[in-house]
């Protein structure tokens, strides 16, 4: 007769009470796993939206470029950086930036022009597939332009609209060209939505007379490397330039991720504590009901440690069964939410946080930690919760305990 078998049989002495606690711990575990998977899904999606759409995990700029975004603050040797990234099999997209005016008919607006290499953007980021209307830029320069959705709305531009561009070129001259709208982005964050105008790198160079100036190289390993490792690599490749991680570039998103992490822990701890109280209540009642029996066991020579072990094993058996059932239930719920997701557009429409657009379909992300953390915590809290009743049983005076009615 080992402690486990003894504990297991003791659990079923009061079937109803055990079933109630079992249900409570099972549901707590299931809810914990499902909500953790949902929160993690949100975080994974937040990070992936922040990095894979357009920002990248790390960006390299000339020193102080981000402070004034001057067209003259270009990277000193972008070719070396791009070559180095290619050798390390890290995808990189070079970008040129310049300000100007765009007009369609009588409507005009300020815009930030992005001079991009369509092929590198396509292979490095998801922006090329993020089209609401039309198509991404062609391989060859063709005076095509893609607009952010709010900019397009304010210009009343549609795919095929002719768009007049006026810019201050790098040589001081006035650049003036006619482009055609080839596409309009879906919601991609406030900065892009309001003023992004993407054009081919060659068109940009011609328009802005900017020569071989490149203002930004965005690196994206798509999770193959940690952000910190990638930043270290970027710093090696561009020692005199400024290297920023996505967390530095998008502090609001980074703060949100950190906040959610804290929130998950607080939320989880509340559930775990509630479940732990349930286990403690069950074990306390079971202990009080069996005081004479503990007296007998002590009289027969069981040490306090043996009694603590027996009570703790009983609680662990309950917790193990409950977490097993809770894990199965939680995984089933998480799987559904991973595959189907929750459509939040019914309540919130499309939304963005810190300038990063979020998919309104909120999906769970199932990972090892999503299961392991709640299960381990639940087992630990059950064990801890059993120590108080176990201590009570272990300290009983055998004579008084045996004669307790």
């Amino acid at each position: 007769m080992n402690s486990l078998r003894y504990g297991w049989r003791n659990l079923w002495r009061n079937t109803r009470r055990t079933l109630i606690t079992l249900t409570a711990v099972t549901l707590s575990t299931a809810i914990l796993i499902t909500s953790y998977a949902l929160m993690d899904g949100l975080l994974v999606h937040a990070v992936s939206s922040a990095t894979n759409l357009v920002v990248g995990e790390v960006q390299i700029h000339a020193p102080r470029y981000l402070a004034d975004r001057s067209i003259y603050r270009a990277l000193a040797d972008p070719a070396r950086i791009l070559r180095g990234a290619r050798e390390k099999k890290i995808r990189a997209a070079p970008r040129r930036y310049g300000y100007g005016l765009v007009a369609v008919g009588t409507k005009s607006a300020g815009a930030l022009f992005w001079g991009v290499d369509p092929e590198l953007e396509r292979t490095t980021f998801d922006l090329a597939g993020h089209m609401a209307k039309g198509q991404f830029l062609a391989e060859m320069p063709s005076r095509g332009m893609i607009l952010g959705r709010k900019l397009a709305r304010s210009l009343q531009a549609e795919v095929g609209s002719e768009i007049v561009v006026v810019v201050q070129a790098a040589d001081g001259s006035l650049g003036n060209e006619l482009f055609t709208v080839t596409g309009i982005f879906k919601a991609a964050g406030d900065a892009i939505d309001r003023n992004a105008a993407l054009i081919h790198a060659a068109d940009f160079t011609e328009l802005f007379v900017s020569g071989d100036r490149i203002h930004e190289i965005a690196l994206n390993s798509r999770g193959q490397m940690s952000t910190q490792d990638l930043a270290t690599l970027a710093a090696d490749l561009a020692s005199k330039e400024e290297v920023k991680t996505w967390q530095q570039l998008l502090p609001a998103v980074s703060d949100m991720v950190n906040l959610f992490d804290v929130f998950i822990w607080i939320f989880g701890l509340i559930f775990i504590l509630a479940a732990g109280m349930g286990v403690m209540n069950t074990m306390l009642m079971a202990t009080y009901e069996r005081i004479p029996e503990f007296g007998i066991i002590k009289a027969l020579g069981a040490t306090p440690w043996r009694i603590i072990r027996d009570v703790a094993t009983e609680a662990l058996a309950l917790a193990a069964l409950a977490t097993l059932l809770g894990t199965a239930l939680g995984l089933a719920g998480s799987y559904y939410l991973q595959e189907v997701g929750l459509d939040t557009s019914l309540f919130a429409g499309s939304y963005s946080v810190g300038g990063v657009a979020f998919d309104p379909i909120w999906r769970a992300a199932i990972g090892l930690k999503v299961v392991l953390v709640p299960v381990v915590l639940m087992v630990i809290i059950s064990l801890v919760a059993s120590l108080y009743p176990a201590g009570l049983a272990a300290r009983l005076d055998p004579v008084k305990a045996i004669h307790r009615p």
Binding site: M1, Y6, I296, I297, A299, L300, G301, P304, R306, V399
Partner: protein
């Protein structure tokens, strides 16, 4: 003969002030190995208190208690537990079996506490259950056994580890007289054939008659002690 129990001027008081009760008043007692001793006395005479003190379940207020050569006062609670586990057997009035354990598991409980390997203890327990007449009932739970059968399990549990002394608190009080006599016969046989030392309390005349030595306890004092002439 080895002296198993030696009590010198043992007192036990409960309560304080006006509620102070003298449960034992200067008890002197020696029990030797192989004895079959009964202790008689009315309710409240201190029989259970004396058994508890000898069994290391309670400590005396004053006096010296020696069990199996060890002075109880010098032992910690854990050491007392070990003494009970290894050298003493207990039979309680209400059987006090563990309801979720079968007859075999109840009887083997002490051996399990002692750390005896499963195979060896199962063999030993089966042998003892056979001795107490419970062959074939090993896998029954206490609720599936009669009062007499439950007390036989309790006896098996008390003697299975071959203790130096078995203490029995009114072991036949909760069974009918026929069953009580059968239990008494069993204890007698174990004493004679196996040399198990028994010290038990009772207020039943039939049980007293079976003892070879009879103590009379009144108001916490042994007023009579000697060979049984009943």
């Amino acid at each position: 003969m080895k002296t198993i129990v030696r009590l010198q001027n043992v007192t036990k008081d409960y309560g304080q002030g006006q509620a102070l009760t003298h449960a034992l008043r200067g008890v002197n007692l020696e029990i030797e190995s192989g004895e079959f001793t009964a202790m008689a006395g009315p309710s409240g005479s201190g029989k259970s208190t004396l058994l508890n003190i000898i069994g290391g379940l309670d400590r005396p207020t004053s006096g010296k208690v020696e069990v199996d050569g060890r002075e109880i006062d010098s032992l910690s609670n854990t050491d007392l537990g070990v003494l009970r586990r290894d050298r003493l057997g207990f039979i309680f009035q209400n059987y006090n079996l563990i309801p979720v354990l079968t007859a075999l598991e109840n009887a083997e409980y002490v051996l399990m506490l002692q750390g005896m390997p499963t195979g060896a203890r199962r063999d030993r327990v089966r042998e003892v259950l056979q001795e107490v007449g419970l062959e074939g009932l090993e896998n029954r739970y206490p609720r599936q056994l009669s009062g007499g059968q439950q007390q036989r399990v309790a006896i098996a549990r008390a003697i299975v580890s071959e203790p130096a002394l078995v203490l029995a608190d009114e072991p036949t009080a909760n069974v009918d007289s026929k069953t009580g006599l059968a239990l008494l016969d069993l204890m007698h046989r174990l004493n004679e054939e196996k040399g198990v030392t028994f010290f038990f309390s009772t207020h039943e005349e039939a049980v007293m008659k079976a003892a070879r030595r009879l103590l009379q306890l009144e108001d916490g004092v042994i007023c009579n002690d000697g060979p049984n002439h009943m």
